[in-house]
Every structure is written in structure tokens, then in C-alpha cells.
Symmetry: C2
């Protein structure tokens, strides 16, 4: 299946599930980009969850996001319990214009939702010539070092840096946990155990039982330092934006709990405002990494998938095709 | 010894070593704050290194930093191969004013030097009511995952968040490596081995030999994700600022190699520009962490030391007192 077809099909299915064109189009595009980059979990596989959330009211398919600009370099968007993507589309042109004129600008979203692949939003800022630094939080799953109760979500951040050709030289996109929670859910479904070091049980003890892990907490990558990075994300995406706290957010999967009402924060920096020669220095840094045997730039795997799918298109397995109503 | 005495003594010794009053005062203050917070490595213990670097020309004790403001929210300071601290002092009032009027602002430093305890700079921004987000890089010591040659330094970031009383609710300050390089140097001097997981040798293999580690690389905290955080710091503190790359910087210890010419990046965000109720949400987040048995807020250890030294003052061991010319 070609990528245009992916996007068109996703758009139709989202509108059938109750989304307006305004809400459906940017989400359909995000599904295209996920399939393009080989991140299947955020491609067609997510479509049934989006449809379920439109049906149960976790996402308002008719929401109209609203933007304001309280200060010259501060952009605020109320996603109004719709998808995050149309709210981001609404705000990004103003964010980029503000960063260009002020040297740096930040945009926060509240009453928002899972924004999908964070790196793709950062990459858009890089395509506009900006350093894109993006933060999004999620329902709490990580406890502070030494404690039991989750306080922050897997809270990823993403960084994209512009090259001299209107693209991103590299895109970094990483969560605060050792592994994604979905890896634990997968093991639980299959009745398999999980490696030690992934999660704790509800008493705060190490566990290899995925069901016990899902009642406990995910371990942060690098211990207290991973929690620290996730805490930075929490401060910017939730506390600054005025979104709900991760520990009060409803789950991103399943119909329970009403709209998650989570938030995002996007910072755009115009390198030209600070010093000459940014792309030259950046190219040398990138070369110092990818020029070494065994090392690769962040996002290299997605980039390779992108080259592949742009030629070969996307292959759907029979089960997914059936669920999409294709055969 | 009282903290006023600490600061006065440090100031005198720096001026004796060739620093002007402009250069000596802010560094002496940083020594006071380090001793106050129990971070002895950046207190009096660093003074002989500062003096050596003034003597050999790694730091220009007569430098006059220069500030410009290329855009409304972009502040640029040339530290002119002097200490970082007077350059930061020069720029911070403008940075804070810019963040207040624009909602966010960033300040970069180039031709700079080790800025000491990064969290103290972040805390100053929080005391001005801003979220302070600070980045500083260092001579390369961490290789990318899977590779051998160091590309980035231990590259810390710091986050301080304002409370409602003109202080910081908490201060996060963490490097990208599993442990500080100074821990390895200490083991090497003592002829002790280091635990596996701290460092690699020059071939990229795990080592417990501190001398082999010092010829190799420090391991990033959390593997590739720790390198990712350090890479973010490299992009902002070095590439954006127009400073030298970490892999080209001269060491922060010893007289070799001329001025390090490293850089910093400081981002200030005015929470009031984005949503009401920041400090209330922040207080609830902090409580969700420190209210749990076994957990504590980032920076809690330094805060405890601060309370102690403000009553008891600072104790110097005989060797340090002798080196400071006190007995």
C-alpha cells in the first residue's frame, strides 16, 4: 500500500468514527508518517484506539482548538479535548514566526491528548530552520527513586536540529523509562516473563512478572537520572501548560476515565539569532558520531525505514487489513 | 569558618592570582555557595585550579565580558576567555527581563569556561520567578553507544522551578555520565579499581582499571538515552552558542592546551505567560514525590547541607587550610 493510500484510508476511518475533517486530517497524516518511518505501533495499529476514543468521548471529534499569544514568544493552544495534532497544526506557524522574530519561543497545549510520535513534531520545527525541542507527558507509570507510587509518565522528549537543506540533521526521541510500557503489556498477553530491570511491583520490589509490573511501576532509564529527565518533561508539558498532572490523567488506552487532558510543550530556537555557522558545527558533530564504526545518529533506524517504505510502500498483515475493513 | 569569611578569602586569593575584582568576585561567591551546599569539589578545593589557570593563561583574569541582544529574547555573551561567572552575571538581568516580557528567552555564552555548579545558576533564575533550564558542556569523555571515541563531555543540565516565596521549589542538576570523571581520577590516585559499568577502555571494552578508563571513555547513564541527553546539552551549550566542540576543548584540569573556550546555554521561562496556577500545580507535584517514604526531591541533599552550614559554618581540614595559606 502506498503512503497516500495509507493517509486517505486513515482519514476516512477517522471521519467514519466521528471526527470532523479538521480533526481527522492531521491524525491521518501522523499515521502516514508513522507507517513511513516503520513505527507500526503509532501507525494503523493505533487507529482502532483512536476510533474507540472518539466513540466513548475520550476524544471530542468535533473539537475546535483555540490559540492565543499572551506574550511575543509565548503561544498557548487549548486543544479542547480533541486530538493533539490539529491543535499543534493551529499553533506551529505562529510558534515558528515568534521564534524567528524573538530568537526563541515556546508553545504549550492543554486539554490535549497523546500526540503520537513526538520526534515528528520536532522534525517539523527543524524543517522550518529551527531547533525543535518537544515535551509530552503521559499517565503516571514511573515512581521516584526509592519509592513505590508512580508520579510521572514515560514522558518523552524530542530534539530535532536543522540541516542546510531544509531538513533535520538528526532527530532524537526518547522516553524516560527503560522500555516502553507496551513491551510489558505484550509480555503479559503472551504469558511471558519480563527481564529484571524493567519494572517494579506495587510494593516497589523488582519483578519479572508482567502482571505485577503493570500494577507497579516502570523503571526509569539510568535510575534517578532518568526520573530527573522525566521530571523536566512533567514540569514543561504538564505544570507549565496547565494540563492535568500525569498522576491524575486517564489512561491512553481503553475507554475508562474521560479525556486524558494531558499537555505538551514545544520550544523553537532560531540558531541564526545566536551565532554564525550553526549548520557547519552541527555537521561536524554528526560526523563525529556516525563516522565511528558501531555508532549511529539518533533516529537512523526511522530514516532507513523511511527510505524503504517510500519505494516499497507499506505491507499490512491479514489481521490488520481485516480490522481496517479491507478484505 | 563563616560563609562571609569563605567568600572574602576566596576573593583575595583569586585577586592575588591575577584576577581583577570583576573576575574574582562572582567566582568567590560561587565558592561560597559550593561550600554552603556541601559540594566541596567546587568549593575551596577548586581554588588552586582556578589560580593555576589564571597563571598559565587558560583563564584571562583581566577579561571583560561583552553582551549583545540580537533579538528580543536572545541574549549573547562573549566571556572573552575569562571566568564564566562574571559573564553570566553580566547577562542574567537582561535574560530575566527578556523572559518576563517575551514569555521565554535564551542566553548563550561562548569563549567561556567551566561554570561550576550549574544548579546554582538555575536557582538564580527561579529566584527571579522563572523556570531556569541550564546547559553546559565539557571536554569530551563520553562515546556514542557502540563506539570508542568520546564525542561529548559529561554535559550536565540543570532545572530549577520557582516557588511562591521567591525561592526554588527544587533544583535538579545532573550529568550525562554514570559517575563524575573525578571519581575515576580519585580511584586512579589511590590505586583502587572501579566498578564495572562506569567506563570503557580505549578499545571500547568494559574496564575496572581506572587508568585504562581515563584513556577510554565514561559510560553514559542509561546507555544510549544518557548519551541522548548529553547530545541535547552539546547542541545547546556548544553548537548553538558558537563555542568550541567538546571534542576539541582543552581539559578543565591541568595547565595544557590554552583556554577551553567552551560554552553555556541558559533558558528562562516565565510561567505566568502560559497558564495560571503554576506554583499550586508544582507544589502538588513536589508533594507527590517527597511525601513518599524513601523518595526525596532533587537537590534535597544540598538543601540539607545548606541548613547545616548556615548554622555551623564550614570546617577546613588541615591540608586544605595549609594550601589556602591559613596556618
Amino acid at each position: 500500500m502506498g503512503l497516500d493510500e495509507v493517509e486517505a484510508l486513515a482519514s476516512v476511518r477517522l471521519m467514519e468514527a466521528g471526527a470532523t475533517r479538521l480533526q481527522a486530517k492531521p491524525v491521518a497524516r501522523s499515521i502516514r508518517l508513522a507507517e513511513r518511518d516503520g513505527v507500526r505501533s503509532h501507525g494503523f495499529m493505533y487507529l482502532p484506539i483512536y476510533a474507540e476514543h472518539l466513540a466513548c468521548g475520550k476524544v471530542d471529534g468535533k473539537a475546535e482548538p483555540e490559540m492565543s499569544r499572551p506574550r511575543a514568544a509565548a503561544v498557548v493552544v487549548d486543544a479542547a479535548h480533541g486530538f493533539a495534532h490539529p491543535a499543534i497544526d493551529l499553533g506551529f506557524p505562529t510558534l515558528v514566526e515568534a521564534a524567528r522574530s524573538s530568537g526563541i519561543a515556546a508553545m504549550t497545549l492543554r486539554r490535549s491528548y497523546n500526540c503520537g510520535i513526538l520526534g515528528h513534531h520536532a522534525e517539523r520545527l527543524a524543517e522550518a530552520g529551527m531547533i525543535g525541542l518537544c515535551f509530552t507527558h503521559a499517565p503516571a507509570s514511573i515512581a521516584p527513586a526509592g519509592a513505590k507510587l508512580p508520579v510521572i509518565g514515560t514522558n518523552p522528549f524530542a530534539l530535532a536540529v536543522p540541516d542546510e537543506h531544509g531538513g533535520a540533521r538528526f532527530v532524537l526521541d526518547q522516553s524516560a523509562s527503560v522500555v516502553a510500557k507496551s513491551e510489558v503489556i505484550l509480555r503479559a498477553r503472551r504469558g511471558e516473563s519480563i527481564p529484571e530491570g524493567w519494572a517494579l511491583d506495587a510494593r516497589g520490589n523488582p519483578t519479572t512478572d508482567p502482571d505485577a509490573a503493570l500494577k507497579g511501576s516502570m523503571l526509569p532509564s539510568g535510575g534517578a537520572k532518568g526520573f530527573g529527565v522525566g521530571l523536566l518533561v512533567e514540569v514543561l508539558a504538564s505544570v507549565l501548560s496547565g494540563a492535568v498532572a500525569s498522576r491524575d490523567a486517564s489512561p491512553f488506552s481503553g475507554p475508562a476515565g474521560g479525556p486524558p487532558a494531558t499537555g505538551q510543550c514545544f520550544i523553537a530556537i532560531d540558531p541564526a539569532a545566536y551565532a554564525l555557522g550553526f549548520t557547519t558545527r552541527l555537521a561536524a558533530l554528526a560526523e563525529a558520531i556516525e563516522g565511528q564504526d558501531g555508532a549511529r545518529l539518533p533516529g537512523a533506524r526511522r530514516r532507513a525505514a523511511r527510505e524503504r517504505t517510500s519505494v516499497e510502500g507499506v505491507e499490512l498483515d491479514a489481521d490488520l487489513a481485516r480490522r481496517l475493513g479491507l478484505r
